[in-house]
């Protein structure tokens, strides 16, 4: 059986949990669309996150890779459209690193596009009553870092598709007034994203951009 890799991140920024970690754990071993999901947790550390991810690419030869990360404050499940070649850390990572305006890959392109069908994923989630929208920025912290590193690793392997999806806080993390989603809703969302990605060759042509 072929493999799909779903990565989450360990908690960071003073949080004790990270919904992306729980998602990767819960999906690990599940079979979706005839593939086995390998769920793994990446360290929230610049450099190390990419190294571990590259190790899993070698170990499991996945045909599809979906990185998942926590975007506290967002209201929706957000497939990311683009990864940009910069680390600019507003807070320290879990190893105390805080790079400022550093290229992730020296002389790498300014950005890589996701090769996931981000619009089909968003549409499929909304059809299941799960809040979803395409995002135009994965930030400049370890999530974007791993996402860029992934797309750089895949740049010459067009048949292996990959990308990144941000998820909101879980309810226990949200402060009063902040959006959040039940964890089980988020697990279902990422399982759906895997299924949609496996069966969708051409993304939908519908507006999912934003004015600003």
């Amino acid at each position: 059986m072929k493999n799909v890799l779903v990565t989450g991140f360990e908690p960071f920024g003073g949080e004790t949990t990270n919904p992306s970690q729980e998602i990767a754990r819960q999906l690990n071993g599940r079979v979706i669309g005839g593939r086995r999901v390998i769920g793994r947790i990446l360290p929230c550390v610049f450099g190390a996150a990419i190294e571990e991810l590259e190790g899993y690419l070698v170990e499991f030869s996945p045909e599809l890779i979906i990185g998942v990360g926590q975007a506290g404050g967002r209201a929706e499940i957000t497939p990311e459209r683009i990864a940009i070649n910069v680390d600019d850390a507003r807070i320290a990572d879990n190893a105390g690193l805080q790079p400022i305006d550093r290229a992730i890959v020296k002389r790498g392109p300014a950005a890589y596009w996701s090769t996931l069908p981000v619009k089909a994923i968003a549409a499929a989630l909304r059809a299941k009553e799960i809040p979803a929208a395409v995002s135009q920025t994965a930030g400049t912290f370890v999530c974007n870092h791993a996402f860029y590193g992934l797309m750089h690793a895949l740049r010459k392997k067009p048949r292996i598709r990959g990308g990144f999806i941000h998820v909101p806080f879980s309810p226990a993390q949200a402060k009063k007034g902040q959006p959040s989603l039940p964890l089980e809703t988020m697990v279902e969302a990422i399982a759906t994203a895997v299924a949609v990605s496996l069966r969708t060759r051409r993304d939908l042509r519908v507006g999912e951009g934003q004015v600003s």
Copy 2:
């Protein structure tokens, strides 16, 4: 079997759906805590909403009444703490009425407190991973209007408890970036609120206020 009344509202403000309407419909007939839930839809019309509600109080003699309404833009299920004695409509209601600074009950008190265990409800929802928080304002439109009218009707009936809970948009209603929750999560939330209200005599003493 004793009755519990759960009211929702018809769509308003240009929307074609209203999650509170769906919640009332789906809970209608369900048995919770040994009581039968009567689910009814109120018109989003000043005056008429209270008149219909009062009719249901007579018809069903419920021992517990939970009004439910849509609070587009909120991120959480929000049991309301207080109803205030003013109609101040930013938009027209479904009959075209748009009262400005009009008392709901002439010479009525400035405000009535909910008699639901609002903090126990919020805590029970969060324990189920459902975003929830106590709200300090139900607005000044038809939701607050019906809530005030309900508490006025119950003011001399301390054994009948009542209150109001606002729910977020459903995903189909939310604009990009706006919070929403799956409808089934919201139905479960209100069912939980009914159960908690029935079994809770004294509310929790935990901070659920807000700084501003």
Copy 3:
């Protein structure tokens, strides 16, 4: 010359500044509409805030009192419509007090209305390009506490008008993405509120409510 009292609050909640404190300081001694502004700083402490405020009412016999407080996260200058009779502290005040669901005035009414022309103030601010809107809740912390205490003190003195206005963070306080306003804009806003209150006997009849 008659007096107008404008109160601000000392910093709280871990902040080192409070725009309301700066506003009261900067307006202290200014003459607006033929009255002298007395600017004073209240402690962010339940009980003590009302006691100090009552002392100023005796000392200065103001004909108009505007309490000002910080509402971190709000985007607008918000004249408050109503004060409610409850302390429910999500965080400790500056004396370590954290009351839960305690009446501010035992057997006091559930709420008092502001006697400021809140809509005329909001309209005048917007005419000056200053973001403004009427608010339906002053929260349940020390701001609402002082506001309720003020209106309770004025309840039998209809010729003395009073109320409360919340202001956003100043830019130095706001986290990335949070709204804020330049301090000078906020000082101008409160000066304008004083002037409008002095010259306005009947508030505007325009919709300033909210749906929820």
Copy 4:
């Protein structure tokens, strides 16, 4: 005297004003840092916006170009870090065009970095009590389109610097609860951005990224 070009946009999306248009008008003819500011208004039309902009580059040979656009809902003045090579229109532009996932420049790079000192600009604004933060996405509508077109035009002219800054709604545009800033604050902000860009060769090395 050398020239600086500041562009704004005409109103779009049903608005009757656009603060960026007013900013360009008010700065037109002003002298900042020994340069004359040329303020021009671009059409909010895909294609035509870049064509007009390129015409101004030829006509005025500016050494610095700052595009300005309206980002309704944002709370801060936001210098943009990066332009991406895609048009994905959620709404129609002013000519009725609504491209979906179309490259702005065929075979152009996925993204261009701003060559403005975006962090020095944000820091200078905050020092003036003006809300400001670096943004990681200019969206996928006409603002990003013009920004990408500008950086493409400048790609082989390293001595001419350019970039884009989004500004919030003006107060008259904002709905209740939405952030906005007084127009004069925004005019001062862009004038400051021009001055800072002219005198800053190396941007500050401070964290201005975002986690997500």
